[in-house]
Amino acid sequence: MKKLTSLALIITVLSIAAYAGGLLLEQAQGTSGQDVFHLYNWGDYIDSDLIDQFEEETGYRVVYETFDSNEAMYTKIQQGGTGYDLAIPSEYMIERMIEENLVVELDHTQIHGLENIDPAFLDLNFDPGNRYSIPYFWGTLGIAYNEELLSDFEFSSWQDLYQLELENSILMIDGARELIGIGLQTLGYSLNSRDEAELAAAADVLSDLAPNIKALVADEIKMYMIQEEASIAVTFSGEAADMMWENESIVYVLPEEGSNLWFDNMVIPHTVQNEEAAYAFINFMLDPNIAAQNADYVGYSTPNEAAMAFLPDETVEDKQFYPSPEMMENLEVYQDLGLEFTGLYNDLFLEFKMFR
């Protein structure tokens, strides 16, 4: 008993010491207080050197937190109790956050460098006049495949994924809208279909794709493709860019039927505590040099027209990453489907996963 008491005592003392030490460290680094900037972003979605540079230039301390889906981000911001100063959600989620007053209207007099952005990425349907959001990156969903392992195949459309020879070889992104969207686009329907018959048909055609799918995974796709665990993946353009960087046999194509075009924009959520820092960060990211360095690191396409001059020619001229205007016409942007249809898409998705 005596031993036990002293053990408990030692553990308590150590815990208190660790906690106090943590507080001291935090104060020394200043993770609380006025000069802290809380950035809520996707994982691995900024060049970390730029965070250092931003801290150096502005004197703010950046606390970087990450999310892995728009929905997870939404839930955390909506529930409150968080102090994020800036978040980078995708367009359909921004639309919803504007509707629900979860984002703060931007003061455009404090924003400098918006003229660097390609007008094609401004004033879009989800945020007319960019009253709430500033473009950060954009990209597409497409097919990444290993040319060496699949030398007998050509990929130019979603239809090509259905070939019987590809049994058990596709890594599919684990997302309801992405998967159901492929079914819809194979049949020539809209990605934002709210027609139950069309959705049922999409689910039906996807059951033909099911035997070819090796696994439904998320961020791990990158690692598996680089290690050649699989030969094809349906993934986002920037992820594909990373794969191509590591493994030269990998190629990315935009399907002919069209695909999803998405935008990730910077917004100031209603949880903001340091608005000044948020504007400083927006302006920092609008700088062409900074945007180019970030795009080079992250691999997604930059909406910053002025930054393209600082990017290597082979990047900017790659039609799979900076598609021609004709190709852009085939691309579709996700709209917020509303709770009922979001539910339906996900039910179909769950059913697909369950019975494949």
């Binding site: 058990n168 684990d174 995974v217 539910g343 996900n346």
Partner: protein, 269 residues
Amino acid sequence: MTKERKWLAVPYHLWIVLFVIVPVMLLLFQSFRGLDGSFTLVNIQTYFTSRVYLTMTLQSFFYAFLITVLTLLISYPAAYFLAQTRHKQFWLLVLILPTWMNILLKTYAFIGILSQTGFVNQGLNFIGIGAQQLLFTPLSFLIVATYIEVPFMLLPVFNAIDEIDGSMIKASRDLGAGEWQTFASVIFPLSLSGVRSGIQAVFIPSLSLFMLTRLIAGNRVITLGTAIEQNFLVTQNWGMGSTMGIVLVLIMFGVMFLTRRRRKGVTVR
């Protein structure tokens, strides 16, 4: 009970109310809410008429059962022999050590071991069988889940066997029982309490393992955890997610009931 003793129980009661009763009540309350926030029975109806949810429940149940059986098959003999070794605390520590590591880290290690170019496939190549698809199969899911759950079975079983009074075994031998008979009618019945807690500690979490289902099984195995995550994080249908949570709670009660200590039979001590 004296007054002081009663006072000592206050933190315990507070804990139970705040962290057990209130959350379960909230869950129950949520499960009666529709998408629009009104009171409804529609979630329960959806659950019991949906082919997807029912199959998923059965599948979760089946995999949890397999994982529990496998961990028991591995842990019981291990615990039995462990209790007889000389440095049993040391060996126990070695077997428990993996639980000190983060579960995600262990899972990622298995990705390395089971992948096409991984350790296992290199071995298979070497002995001439050739590389097999190991990742993204139900088998690999079972292997990794069993590996992760074994310590939680081993510990209670070991404690139960270790606590058996040595004189009981001696008495059994003295009275002419053989090795097997001693095991079957003395050691095993006396270790049952450990087996029960082990089953409880392994079966329930196995029902809703959802991270492994994606990372190791590539969503080829779908458990209730997958659907609960989707309902809470993606479709914002908290009502449906809670309904499934309630189903899990009910299954848990079922398991507790089946593995409860019975009054009759072997409660010798």
